[in-house]
């Protein structure tokens, strides 16, 4: 293993198809028109010295190191800003150029405390500069004290405010790479160059420190800095990394590729991988910096068991723990029937680990009681897109947004939940694409630097379907539909009856205005823009799916896309932004109770027989229990044992009191996780899990991209997670065995038509592939439904608006909706164990000033939030982001108990919980809720680990 260093071509690749031939240092080269001379030279293998240029940003021409000579032209132009031209003859190294570069470099170093390992030193070596004639006697930014003993007013202390990186102004050469990275790559515009001339300096925000500024700590500036002025604290602490491994981030569904840069078996830093198909070299604060949880002191690395959940945990051997779990599960099945146990797979685990768990449930448990955490997030996506288009996945790759003209963002908050893709969206918006946002909350994308939504439709929570139906109504009644596209690609019978439905006056924006709270005129204007503005792409999140009409809404959006011909080419589509890293993969792998891998129903005899043959055992033809059904059956007494892989259902699932009653009713709960999470408080067996740094396998992101997750270090607890699953299956009588994760993928490919062409060898060779990957598409399928829908003809579905039964009344007059924040992830088990708590140490309740005032609530006061199922206490944050009548919180901290309030209401088709609509009351409070008091007791009592008696040394 070596340290992987990517080639930096200095300037971005030109998209031109016209080619230009020129000569560089006597060598002929042909490159696309618009390519810089610097890039053309690099393609020949000639690295022209540079400091301010890098290939993920537009050329800038400030450092003056990359000068070249062009025969017949005056002067020494900068090669980064000079485009190639036909027939020109370029010289990159002459005596004149050498002297000029040495002079420039010497001036830089005259005001720079050269560091041994920085690009500055490399560049000094490159231009042959061995001696700097100027000391720091004159004006400089390096010495804190002048020669006369007075303080140097130009000197600035290091900014150590960010927990992950340092900014040392003394090392800064004001090349603007960090400023441009913040603008062009990240799109936050937190940095600028303040002052003029020698007083110029990099300024975060209004010359604040980084933490006080708008900086979102994505790391783009640190990555861009050529001088070490911005540097990871981990590099300062541990030294320069020596080796690297390409792997995939374990946070959101963007699925960014990273270089894990190591020293021995210690991670020094995570650097976004330029060739990563999903992120192309960009990152966010979570993936870039928040990986420290993997070695946090709370990590449990020994298997543990206990008879009762009130007993302290007892550390045991793997053999004992697996035997204990197998024995209990088999006893339960003997007593209560084979359907009395089940398992839950995790979107935080690899495809191979998930596949193993669902196979264990179907073969060793002999039932289909397996579900995945996608149940509570994107299960309506699978249902809705399958019904309309014929496949349970998003239609595009991320790159497609570069050709989008109108973005329709619905129920998603990309800058917080999918930040790396949000940067890509914002880049396109800065280029002129239009933006329509449907969201009850004023998310950042409504107005942020250089991005202003053309329409923000702040609809009432629970009225998504009404608004999208109204958009379709306008398009159809105003004759803006894509007639030829519909005639060619959609089912005419279904379209005809949908037309009859959607044309009804009840679906007009005017009729819906009083229900949705959105101006009819705005809806009409937004509809016209989406229908006529060019390539229209829908991007959506859990604000769509987590409703009683989640599946209906997905179908309504699919109708809208078909109606306008916006499926089946670049720049368009219906795109779910998946919450967790492997939501798509966990669904693909057959962890729904009614489907095998590749979304084939367990009741399909031919499919089931194929699996029976491969797995050599009889399989159940009946659908199993979904997660909420498991809880109901547990309370009822017919479900008694549960295996939970890497999920924290006690924190993440709705109506916490109902969930904990269900867990308490179980006779055996097995938790496989990194930490003693909330669910572990109700468990009898704990199998320590592996962090993403210890896994070998694959994740599939929101664009169906299968990325390799490579083992960076050995599992801390000694076993791969799939190996534990195999051993549990064996202990229960089913001989499941694999020698490697690669073998599991080989089996997935054998039994899953859409994965038929996938193997670790191919992924290692190509970097990644997007399914379907098979004989028809050996290198994968970036865009779906090109030329026709997977189901044949696209199906318009009738999507009548049915209001949720969760309504406000005089007891619960406000609507609570929940969401996420940039620095934290899901239940926070990972990010709470990193320095990301510096940005979000507690969940707060956002409340509109009017709602706060009538309740006498001031900013920062503790308030009680109660619904018909429970109550909790949070700190109030008065905010105009919410409309009057709507309050908002996150669920990243267990003590917050956000899901104590959410109810059992769920999507009609999939049982995805209705997290986004809960009727609540908010009142001032000066104490914790009863639930929070109970939680604190349980936190102490149910998570005790028995101390082993000390044995005297002989």
């Amino acid at each position: 293993m070596t340290l992987i260093t990517e080639i930096d071509y200095g300037t971005p690749k030109s998209k031109s198809t016209a080619m230009v031939t020129l000569e560089i240092d006597g060598h002929s080269i042909t490159v696309p028109e618009g390519t810089s001379i610097m890039r053309a030279a690099m393609e020949l293998g000639t690295q022209i010295p540079k400091l301010c240029a890098t290939d993920n940003m537009a050329s800038f021409g400030s450092c003056r190191l990359c000068l070249v000579e062009i025969e017949g032209r005056k002067g020494t132009p900068a090669s980064c800003t000079t485009p190639v031209a036909p027939g020109i003859k370029v010289h990159t190294q002459t005596e004149r150029l050498g002297k000029l570069r040495q002079g420039v470099m010497e001036l830089y170093l005259s005001d720079h405390p050269i560091a041994g390992d920085s690009a500055m030193q490399d560049m000094a070596d490159s231009v042959g500069l061995s001696h700097v004639r100027y000391g720091f006697e004159g004006e400089n930014h390096v010495s804190p004290v002048r020669l006369d003993g007075e303080a140097n007013p130009r000197f600035k202390e290091k900014d150590e405010s960010n927990p992950y990186f340092t900014f040392d102004p003394a090392k800064c050469i004001v090349c603007s790479r960090c400023v441009r990275a913040c603008e062009e790559v990240q799109g936050t515009f937190a940095l600028t160059i303040d002052g003029r001339g020698f007083a110029s300096h990099v300024s975060a925000g209004m010359d604040e420190n980084f933490m006080e500024s708008e900086c979102v700590s994505c790391g783009a500036c640190v990555q861009a800095c050529p001088t070490g002025s911005l540097l990871e604290k981990s590099v300062i602490a541990l030294g320069k990394p020596e080796t690297s491994v390409i792997t995939t981030c374990a946070y959101c569904g963007v699925g960014c590729s990273f270089k894990a840069e190591m020293k021995g078996d210690e991670v020094v830093r995570m650097v976004p991988w330029k060739d990563g198909g999903a992120n192309e070299g960009h990152s966010c604060v979570k993936g870039r910096f928040a990986w420290g949880y993997a070695s946090h002191k709370d990590r449990v690395t020994k298997p543990m068991v206990r008879d009762r959940i009130t007993d302290p945990w007892k550390e045991v051997s793997w053999e004992e723990a697996i035997g204990f779990a197998a024995r209990r599960f088999m006893e339960i099945q003997k007593k209560y029937g084979r359907g009395s146990i089940g398992g839950i797979t995790s979107s935080r685990c690899t495809n191979e680990e998930v596949f193993a768990v669902q196979k264990m449930v179907r073969t060793a448990f002999h039932n289909n009681n397996v579900d995945t955490c996608a149940r509570v997030c994107h299960s309506p996506t699978g249902y809705g897109l399958s019904k309309t288009f014929g496949t349970s996945a998003g239609t595009q790759d991320f790159k497609s947004v570069d050709e989008c003209d109108v973005m329709l963002v619905i129920g998603a908050n990309p800058t917080d939940a999918h930040p790396v893709f949000a940067s890509r969206m914002k880049k396109r918006l800065r280029e002129g694409a239009k933006l329509i946002i449907l969201d009850p909350r004023r998310i950042d994308m409504v107005r942020s630097p250089h991005v202003v939504a053309d329409f923000h439709l702040p609809l009432r929570p629970g009225t998504n379907v009404a608004v999208v139906n109204a958009l379709s109504h306008v398009i159809l009644t105003e004759g803006l539909e894509a007639k030829a596209y519909i005639a060619e690609r959609c089912d005419p019978k279904e379209f005809a009856r949908w037309t009859d439905f959607i044309r009804q006056p009840v679906n007009s924006p005017e009729a819906m205005e009083s229900i949705t709270g959105v101006s009819a005129a705005e809806v009409r204007a937004a509809a016209r823009l989406y229908a006529t503005g060019g390539n229209g792409a829908i991007y959506y999140g859990l604000g769509v799916t987590e409703h009683s009409q989640g599946s209906t809404m997905v179908m309504a959006m699919a109708n809208l896309a078909m109606l306008t011909g916006n499926v089946g080419r670049n720049g368009v589509g219906v795109n779910p932004l998946r919450g967790q890293n492997n939501v798509q993969g966990s669904c693909d792998m057959g962890s729904f109770p009614h489907e095998y891998s590749g979304y084939r129903h367990v009741g399909d005899n031919s499919v089931r027989e194929m699996f029976e043959q491969v797995w050599q055992t009889a399989l159940d033809s009946e659908p199993g229990l979904r997660i909420p059904n498991m809880f109901d059956a547990a309370v009822e007494g017919t479900f008694k044992g549960l295996y939970v892989q890497g999920e924290d259902i006690a924190q993440s699932d709705p109506n916490t009191n109902h969930v904990t009653h269900a867990l308490e009713a179980l006779e055996c709960v097995v938790v496989q996780d990194l930490f003693l999470n909330e669910t572990a408080a109700f468990a009898h067996v704990f199998f320590p899990g592996t962090s993403f740094l210890e896994k070998d396998g694959t994740f599939t992101n929101a664009e169906r991209r299968i990325n390799r997750v490579r083992q960076v270090k050995a599992p801390m607890q000694g076993k791969d997670e799939w190996q534990v699953v195999c051993e549990l299956s064996q202990a229960m009588g089913y001989d499941m065995h694999y020698n490697s994760a690669s073998e599991i993928m080989d089996e997935i490919a054998r039994v899953t038509p859409t994965f038929a062409g996938v193997s670790f060898e191919k992924l290692d060779r190509l970097g990644s592939v997007q399914w379907p990957c098979n004989d028809k598409a050996p290198e994968g399928t970036p865009l779906m439904h090109v030329g026709g829908f997977v189901r044949g003809l696209g199906r318009f579905m009738i999507t009548e608006f049915v209001p949720t039964t969760e309504r406000t009344n005089r007891f619960f007059p406000l609507i609570l909706t929940t969401g996420r924040i940039l620095s934290q992830y899901n239940v926070g088990a990972q990010t709470r164990r990193t320095q990301n708590v510096a940005w979000h140490a507690e969940d707060v309740l956002e409340i509109h000033p009017h709602d706060a005032e009538v309740r006498g609530i001031r900013n920062g006061q503790m308030v009680s939030i109660s619904s018909r199922v429970g109550a909790t206490t949070l700190r109030a944050l008065i905010s105009e982001r919410m409309a009057q009548g709507v309050v908002y919180t996150t669920f990243h901290h267990p003590v917050s108990g956000a899901n104590v309030i959410t109810t059992e209401n769920s999507d009609w088709a999939t049982n995805c919980p209705e997290y986004k609509v809960t009727a609540v009351q908010v009142t001032l409070s000066n104490q914790q809720s009863d639930w929070q008091k109970d939680w604190e007791i349980r936190e102490d009592e149910n998570k005790r680990i028995a101390v082993k008696p000390l044995v005297a040394a002989e």
Partner: protein
């Protein structure tokens, strides 16, 4: 499962398919229940129907003939 939860879920399914012609709606609702409801959930539904089906949407009652009766040992 509480009967009220079973009724809520079954009636939500009926609400969606009501937009379709009656015969098709009956068939789709039954198919949905066959495809996604675990046998013990369908058993609960049939037990409630046997008691008169109070609170059930008429569409689900009409669809009952097409809903697969679970084998009682499945749970």
């Amino acid at each position: 499962m509480e009967t009220r939860d079973m009724l809520r879920m079954a009636n939500q399914i009926a609400d969606f398919f009501k937009g379709y012609p009656r015969e098709e709606a009956r068939k789709e609702a039954a198919t949905h229940l066959n495809n996604y409801w675990d046998p013990r959930m369908r058993k609960h539904l049939f037990e409630h129907l046997a008691k008169g089906g109070e609170g059930l949407d008429p569409l689900i009652i009409e669809a009952a003939a097409q809903i697969r009766k679970p084998k009682m040992d499945a749970a």
